[in-house]
């Protein structure tokens, strides 16, 4: 490990912790990183991903968090359960896309969107 590589790794970690270079108004979870979703061979820790998706949900739609709705794997994101409209759903997925650096096209195939499906997608399951 060369000193420059070590310094690069430290700088990246500091950047992730403080959120420099991220739009914090849109993605305030970046920089705070309450639970990091660790990655092993492209598969992330599902609990960590779920916690991050929950936090993004609470940020994009504070009403969901305020209402204290219990979000489980089968909870549908739409108006019928979690109460999100199409724009809020897209905003949540865009924030997750940026956070996990994983494209979301496969999630938008017309199958009902549940919390569990979203978490599985970003966990790489």
């Amino acid at each position: 490990v060369t000193p420059s590589a070590l310094w690069g790794a430290v700088a990246l970690e500091v950047r992730l912790l403080v959120g420099v270079g991220f739009d914090r108004a849109r993605f305030p979870v970046v920089g705070r990183r309450p639970q990091r979703a660790s990655t092993l061979g492209g598969v992330r820790d599902r609990h960590g991903v779920a916690a991050t998706v929950r936090e993004i949900l609470g940020t994009v739609c504070p009403a969901v968090q305020a209402a204290g709705v219990e979000v489980v794997d089968d909870t549908r994101l739409g108006r019928d359960q979690l109460g999100l409209d199409s724009i809020e759903i897209a905003e949540v997925l865009l924030a997750c896309e940026e956070q996990f650096e994983t494209r979301i096209e496969a999630l938008l195939d017309g199958t009902p969107l549940t919390f569990g499906r979203v978490v599985d997608h970003f966990a790489g399951a």
């Binding site: 739409g78 199409s86 724009i87 759903i89 897209a90 997925l93 865009l94 938008l108 969107l113």
Partner: protein, 278 residues
């Protein structure tokens, strides 16, 4: 008239000689006289535009009738052709000749809005247009449905974000049903506008440009309203869009159509009722 004419005749005329079709309908509607179009009488027009004189309101009501007749024929022609869409002759006002790129282009259901696709086909690159009609669109306009459920609408919204970030245009009609969207003032009343266009602008920091099409005899003129700069306030942007519509309608009251006067008058009554109750 458009109901009794065979669809194939409307399509043929619209394709071969649009001026003959729309000019004839224009003359016909004037010959029929001031017959009210779906309840749009001179009195109703005067109620919406109190600054108009009686003669101007009468003329505007006739224009509503003529405009509705020609717009209906245009919809029939666009809905029943498989080849190139048969647009009328479209003149592009200088305001709409150089649109910013990328941009969220919006319009309202007033005048021959279907002819706006003629302007979209002149834009460089692909244009995404979420829509719910059976119209034929130009090759560069990617028309996508998206009215089944939230997931499908979210997919359409995501595609729109992706295209805007890639520098393309997105075209949307912004009126929605009451109870959804943002309620904004218009001509002393209010109308609900869908959030989609303004949320796209907020997320991608791309401006919103209102486009308006109006009949000028047998031809169509397309103009652009003032560009609405991106900001974080969807309600402020929606209000600016409604102001652009108001300016357009005050300049061309005959383009108001049948639905808007009813909507505006009802919203005024509701506001009066609320004030009385409080």
């Amino acid at each position: 008239v458009t109901r009794s004419l065979p669809r194939s005749a409307v399509v043929l005329l619209a394709t071969r000689s649009p001026r003959l079709l729309y000019g004839s309908l224009d003359v016909l509607s004037r010959a029929v006289g001031a017959r009210a179009h779906r309840g749009v009488t001179a009195e109703r027009v005067a109620a919406v535009f109190p600054a108009l004189s009686a003669a101007e309101a009468e003329r505007a009501a006739r224009q509503v009738h003529a405009s509705a007749l020609k717009t209906r024929a245009l919809a029939v022609a666009l809905g029943h052709t498989r080849s190139d869409p048969p647009y009328p002759i479209v003149r592009v006002d200088s305001s709409a000749s150089a649109l910013p790129s990328p941009a969220v282009l919006i319009s309202f259901h007033v005048g021959p809005f279907a002819a706006l696709a003629h302007v979209l086909q002149r834009l460089p690159g692909e244009v995404l247009a979420p829509h719910y009609t059976n119209w034929t669109f130009p090759p560069n306009v990617r028309a996508i449905g998206g009215d089944r459920d939230e997931a499908e609408r979210a997919a359409a919204f995501y595609r729109a974000v992706t295209m805007l970030r890639a520098g393309a245009h997105v075209f949307l009609m912004v009126e929605t049903i009451r109870g959804l969207g943002v309620e904004v003032p218009l001509l002393g009343g209010s109308i609900p506008l869908a959030r989609g266009a303004f949320a796209l602008s907020r997320l991608t920091r791309v401006p919103v440009v209102p486009l308006f099409a109006r009949w000028t005899g047998p031809d169509v003129t397309v103009a652009a309203g003032e560009t609405i700069a991106p900001c974080g306030d969807e309600t402020a942007q929606a209000t600016a869009a409604a102001r652009a519509l108001e300016r357009h309608l005050l300049a061309h009251p005959g383009e108001i159509g049948a639905g808007l006067p009813t909507e505006i008058i009802r919203s005024r009554s509701r506001a009066t009722g609320r004030r009385a109750a409080s």
